[in-house]
């Protein structure tokens, strides 16, 4: 090629030169600096809010991970437990463990005489204590006939008191732990028989009316089962719908209408989907109430628009040149999509799906409508068992009157957040895997 640029000096006289004055430069620099400052401010504000949120949750909830135990010297007399020396676990199981446990506690404080004081004393340990003693003996049958020291949980009020959330200097009428209970507690504490241990119950059991026996496992399993159903339904349907609309459907008024309605559906309040689920899945199809299968279906309905919109965006982002390359080689439209477009769009689709699933994980309102708000103690073992989910569990605990549920609510929020972080990590890993193939 020849050099086309020739100096045109004669024109230079009429050319308006750019204004390079210091004032203009300073103004531009100032604007850039301000803009950067606004950006930093915005990010700072966001981080600060997140930090406040996390701090408030963690500072309220960390105490739920420990539980106060008291050591009881339980006299395990054969006459009471297994009078006929059968050694049969069934006989042992049916012994009067309540009496055995309470007797051992009463033995610590011989001066407790009156009925009301006795009731107060027994109220200091968890209602679960007799069962803990029984389980100890079932595990160690040799202990029968001896005096065993067994750690049992204290009741939620004493636990809260031990954690320092109840001020002992308050008027007695204003606190839930009375003077004599404090005296008994201090006595035991003075003997080194009070200890805070890791609260495994929180992770191994379902809901309970007694805070010290309540756990999130039921809700975690419920959430997991519900999300599995949601994923299995919404991912394929969402991706298929997006692929068809984006790659195959003719662009006409009907597809425009469908597109507008999908966008509208994404903005419909989730409780409406709950009502829909109630009317259609429960009342019309007669599916079981409170079941993860129905919850998953309702959440899938709610998640679908999100997944479809994100998947369409991901498909749109695949350069048309890739489609042309495939079509130009004689690939059919379906081959061009499945061999080239879909793999390239997959990371974006997965991101959309995870956003949708995270939304579904945190959703409460639609599940209230289909009965997943019920008080469920058992850990669900299948998709049709009654279950609740983490956000609903949080909602229930936040509503519970006992002080000990406050920290458990925060603990459940932490579990929910951990669940969320794990899901997002999984998404990142999946995305990395898909991207590395190329």
């Amino acid at each position: 090629m020849t050099d086309m640029t020739t100096p045109k000096a004669e024109r230079a006289a009429t050319i308006r030169r750019p204004d390079l004055s210091a004032a203009r430069i300073n103004r531009r620099y100032g604007a850039e600096k301000r803009f950067r400052a606004y950006g930093l401010l915005a990010i700072g504000a966001a981080i600060a809010m997140l930090a406040i949120l996390l701090f408030s949750i963690v500072s309220k909830g960390y105490s739920a991970f420990v539980q106060t135990y008291v050591q009881l010297e339980v006299t395990l007399t054969e006459a009471e437990i297994d009078p006929d020396r059968t050694g049969d676990p069934e006989v042992i199981r049916n012994a009067n463990w309540r009496k055995i446990t309470f007797e051992s506690l009463r033995a610590e404080f011989p001066d407790v005489k009156s009925r009301s004081e006795t009731r107060q004393l027994f109220g200091m340990i968890s209602g679960n204590a007799p069962i803990a003693v029984r389980d100890y003996v079932l595990d160690n049958p040799d202990a029968i006939g001896t005096t065993a020291s067994i750690w049992v949980k204290v009741s939620d009020d004493i636990d809260t008191f031990n954690k320092g959330f109840i001020d002992r200097n308050l008027e007695e009428d204003d606190r839930r732990v009375k003077d004599n209970e404090i005296v008994w507690f201090d006595t035991l504490d003075g003997q080194g028989r009070v200890e805070a241990k890791f609260n495994t119950t929180l992770f191994t059991s379902g809901d309970s009316r007694e805070p010290e026996q309540a756990g999130v496992l039921g809700a975690v399993v419920g959430s997991l089962l519900t999300l599995i159903i949601t994923l299995v339904l919404s991912f394929p349907i969402g991706v298929m719908a997006a692929v068809y609309l984006e790659e195959f459907a003719p662009k006409n008024r009907l597809t425009d209408l469908i597109e507008v309605n999908i966008n509208n559906l994404a903005a419909v309040p989730s409780i409406v989907f709950g009502l829909l689920g109630l009317a259609v899945f429960l009342n019309f199809f007669g599916l079981p109430r409170s079941a993860p299968v129905v919850g998953g279906m309702v959440l899938a309905l709610m998640t679908l628009p999100t997944i479809i919109i994100a998947s369409r965006a991901a498909l749109k982002a695949v350069p048309p040149s890739i489609r042309e390359a495939a079509l130009g080689l004689g690939a059919s439209r379906l081959q061009a999509v499945t061999h080239h477009v879909l793999p390239l769009a997959m990371p974006g689709m997965l991101t959309g799906t995870i956003i949708g699933m995270a939304q579904a994980l945190g959703e409460t309102a639609p599940l209230l409508m289909i009965g997943m708000v019920a008080f469920i103690v058992d850990i669900p073992s299948g998709f049709t068992d009654p279950a609740t989910v983490l956000p609903v569990q949080i909602f229930l605990w936040a509503d519970a009157p006992q002080r000990a549920f406050v920290e458990r609510t925060s603990a459940a929020i932490m579990v929910l957040l951990t669940f969320l972080v794990c899901m997002n990590l999984l998404a990142v890993l999946l995305r990395k895997r898909f991207e590395r193939r190329w």
Binding site: P250, K251, P319, S321, I322, R323, E324, A325, A326, L327, G328, L329, G330, A331, S332, Q335, H339, H340, L344, W438
Partner: protein
């Protein structure tokens, strides 16, 4: 590389076994707007036909009619008749996938698949059921890369992504990918517009070699390129085919004023 092969338009070689593709009164509309007006053009067997003309004159549109790539544009409508070996390619009974297997295409921007070099080449044969064994596929990949004179540069990196090659290599990869299917006609839409002069020279050399086995239609903005690689040249202007003839004739003795004006650089 060898500074080589600005090959003259030697018309006497091969060719002229009758036209491979014939366009009769082809009109193309984008919605209400007509982009091509009554195009009548014959594309000779084993010839390189160059389509030249200013931007927006419809030469790429015409090229894309030849393997029905315009089908993917919803608002595009084609009337008239285009035949390949006498068969109407717009016949509704004709399978467009088979047509594109016979009429391959190389695009303006190199667009290798984001897969390995090997998979880029092997993709076409795979979807058309050619090369069912690994050995056969290996052979197709090697011969295609050799014919695109890329083999020596990439033979050690067949597993690396095709997108990691240089621009000129990517375009030759795309040509290799097109010829791996063994089409009868190869359409090239400004294949050198994104390349530097050295890569361009390589591709031009390649086009001339490929003429032995393929019929080639090339759209180009460079008149020098048209003069170097083609045997016949068609000049498009504002959606009309102004003039078509032997390349030497068009460039030395154009009949139409517009052609004259364009090739001498007075407009366009």
């Amino acid at each position: 590389m060898v500074e080589n092969a600005i090959v003259d338009s030697d018309k006497n070689a091969s060719t002229n076994r009758g036209p491979k593709m014939i366009s009769e009164n082809t009109n193309v509309f984008y919605g209400d707007k007509q982009a091509l007006f009554d195009i009548n053009l014959e594309i000779g067997q084993n010839e390189v036909t160059a389509l030249i003309g200013p931007s927006g004159c419809g030469k790429s549109t015409f090229l894309r009619c030849l393997n029905r790539m315009n089908d993917v544009i919803d608002i595009c409508r084609v009337t008239g008749k285009i035949t390949l070996d006498g068969d109407d390619i717009y016949d509704p009974a004709l399978d467009v996938v088979q047509l594109r297997a016979r009429v391959g295409m190389v695009f303006q921007k190199p667009n290798p698949f984001p897969k390995s070099v090997y998979d880029n080449i092997a993709y076409g044969p795979r979807i058309h059921g050619v090369g069912n064994t690994k050995a056969e596929l290996d052979e197709i990949v090697q011969s295609s890369l050799e014919r695109a004179s890329l083999w020596n540069e990439v033979k050690d990196r067949l597993d690396e992504p095709g997108t990691g090659l240089s621009g000129g290599q990517q375009q030759r990869l795309c040509i290799a990918r097109a010829i791996a299917v063994n089409p009868e006609v190869i359409l090239m839409d400004e294949p050198c517009s994104a390349l530097d002069p050295i890569a361009t020279a390589k591709i031009e050399e390649l086009i001339d070699e490929l003429r032995m086995n393929f019929t080639i239609v090339i759209v180009t903005h460079s008149m020098q390129q048209a003069a170097r690689v083609s045997q016949r040249t068609a000049f498009f202007h504002l959606g009309e085919l102004v003039e078509v003839g032997d390349t030497a004739e068009i460039f030395t003795n154009p009949k139409d004023d517009r052609t004259q004006g364009y090739i001498t650089g007075r407009f366009g």
